[in-house]
Amino acid sequence: MGMMVRSVTNWGRSGLSDWLVQRMSAVVLAAYTLFMASIFVQNPDLTFSEWQAFFDVTWVKLFTLLTVLSVVGHAWVGLWTVATDYIKPAIIRFFFLIVVGVTLFVYLVTTATALWG
């Protein structure tokens, strides 16, 4: 597959692993989007009890967690690519990616707390 191009801010991963992460997470995100859309369309008048019972099912919790993990990976690869393309000064790019990383971590913790807290 030739030489792997590495750079400091992509944290030692390769372009190939980025490509794979982006595709696998995309499939999970697409599946969850269709799943939730069908839930909302089929249940237009959800009550709190129904909503809570729905997210009390273990596989729904795990599917939701897997989806947020996919968001973290997908957004990181996507925004790393965008930052590398458009933000030329390294310091600003690094700061931007720190903000992205912290934001994604907060999303992960918030979702885990919502599901199991």
């Binding site: 595709r23 995309a26 697409a30 989007t33 369309v41 909503w51 809570q52 992205v100 999303y107 979702t111």
Partner: protein
């Protein structure tokens, strides 16, 4: 080579092919979704927290500004989803000709457009 030939690098006046427009919208919607997903996760967290939290989200979504924010966020999800499917289809080697790309770009705009309008109907109708 004539070094004095006119050069136009003004991005606002360069005519972009449709594929370039769908591609930049894919990026723009992705960047926006870093914030948009936060809105969705915040609503999930509030709505599962307690009955009061659930009702608070329900009441918030009666407000025009919240409805508009939700519509914009879901529109970004829809566009990013449809453009992403095109990406996955092209990964499989389908539609990699100039005509194929144009057809699929039209398809992305059309399908996403219809779904975005339907989402607006779902929110406001």
């Amino acid at each position: 080579m004539n070094r004095k030939r006119p050069v136009n690098l003004d991005i606002m006046t360069i005519k972009q092919p449709l594929a370039a427009i769908t591609s930049i919208l894919h990026r723009a919607s992705g960047i926006f979704l870093l914030v948009g997903v936060g809105f969705l996760i915040w609503m999930l967290n509030q709505s599962l927290d307690s009955r009061q939290g659930f009702e608070a989200v329900r009441n918030l979504l009666q407000e025009p500004f919240a409805q508009f924010s939700l519509w914009v966020t879901l529109s970004a999800v829809i566009y990013h989803f449809v453009a992403g499917i095109k990406h996955l289809v092209m990964d499989m080697g389908i539609g990699e000709t100039k005509e194929g790309v144009k057809m699929m770009s039209i398809g992305v705009i059309a399908i996403a457009g219809v779904l975005i309008v339907l989402t607006g109907v779902w929110i406001w109708a």
